[in-house]
């Protein structure tokens, strides 16, 4: 049975890097989408407040809603982070599994 620990560890690092890199690019796109949507809403809200169309009380109430929006956005990014971690962990397990199988000459 052959079992080169250094090679396996190296493969594990590469697997994690590949998995995280792919997911990270998509996470960046999602974050950018949220930022752009927030900017447009904040601009609209500021315009209505400056023109006096909404009063101070309504404005403060809207700001509370914006806090909830940020919470929701962070929740979604948290889901994505978990997906990334899950993918990376399973990529490592895949490497280990392949190493064991090939060490046993099963594959």
């Amino acid at each position: 049975m052959e079992f080169d620990v250094d090679a396996i560890l190296n493969d594990m690092v590469l697997a994690v890097r590949k998995s995280v890199q792919k997911d990270y690019e998509e996470a960046e796109t999602i974050t950018e989408l949220f930022v752009q949507a927030n900017k447009a809403r904040y601009k609209k809200l500021a315009e209505y407040r400056f023109s006096g169309k909404i009063d101070e009380q309504s404005f403060k109430s809207r700001l509370q809603d914006e806090k909830l929006m940020l919470e929701a956005q962070f929740n979604t990014l948290s889901i994505f982070t978990k997906v990334m971690a899950q993918n990376a962990a399973n990529a490592v397990i895949d490497v280990l599994e392949k190493a064991i199988l090939s060490g046993l000459k099963i594959i």
Binding site: S19, D23, E26, I30, L33, F34, A37, N38, A40, R41, K44, L45, Y48, K53, I54, S58, R62, D65, L68, M69, E71, A72, Q73, N75, T76, S78, I79, F80, K82, V83, A85, Q86, N87, A89, N90, A91, I93, E97, I100, L101, L104, I106
Partner: protein, 144 residues
């Protein structure tokens, strides 16, 4: 011998998979899109009524649609609560429901709604439902 090893490793492999989030649910994704459309339709319908005639935008004229959407949001919340490893999406639906009830209550109290309030509400829910949908769509990236 080899067969036993393969069976054992297959068992080891499935037991060792890491699961941190609930998998993608197409039904929930469709529900989110459906509710988002209903909200947009309601706000556009009210916007179509004249802004200078408060009676044209009286709450009672739209109460049925408001309740229909609230029922859908309650159902979506229940579906999310029943899924394991799903705290974030559950909280997001709670936020959508809380905000929906808040805006409904305001319309009911004032018994009319201005163009700019409709505009802000419409954009808010459009963006919030995009966040909700993303929370589901990102699960498609799960490599299992």
């Amino acid at each position: 011998m080899k067969v036993y090893l393969i069976v054992m490793l297959a068992g080891f492999y499935s037991a060792c998979r890491v699961t941190m989030v609930a998998p993608y649910d197409e039904h929930i994704a469709r529900q989110i899109q459906l509710i988002s459309k209903k909200i947009d339709k309601l706000y556009l319908t009210i916007l179509d009524m004249p802004d200078d005639d408060p009676s044209a935008r009286a709450y009672s004229l739209f109460a049925e649609q408001y309740i229909d959407i609230e029922v859908d949001l309650n159902a979506l919340l229940l579906q999310n609560r029943l899924r394991p490893l799903n705290n974030e999406s559950t909280r997001n639906v709670e936020i959508a429901l809380e905000t929906w009830i808040k805006y409904k209550k305001k319309h009911k109290e004032v018994n009319t709604i201005s163009d700019f309030d409709l505009d802000l509400n419409r954009y808010y829910f459009r963006d919030l439902f995009m966040v909700l949908l993303m929370g589901e769509e990102v699960r498609k990236n799960i490599n299992n």
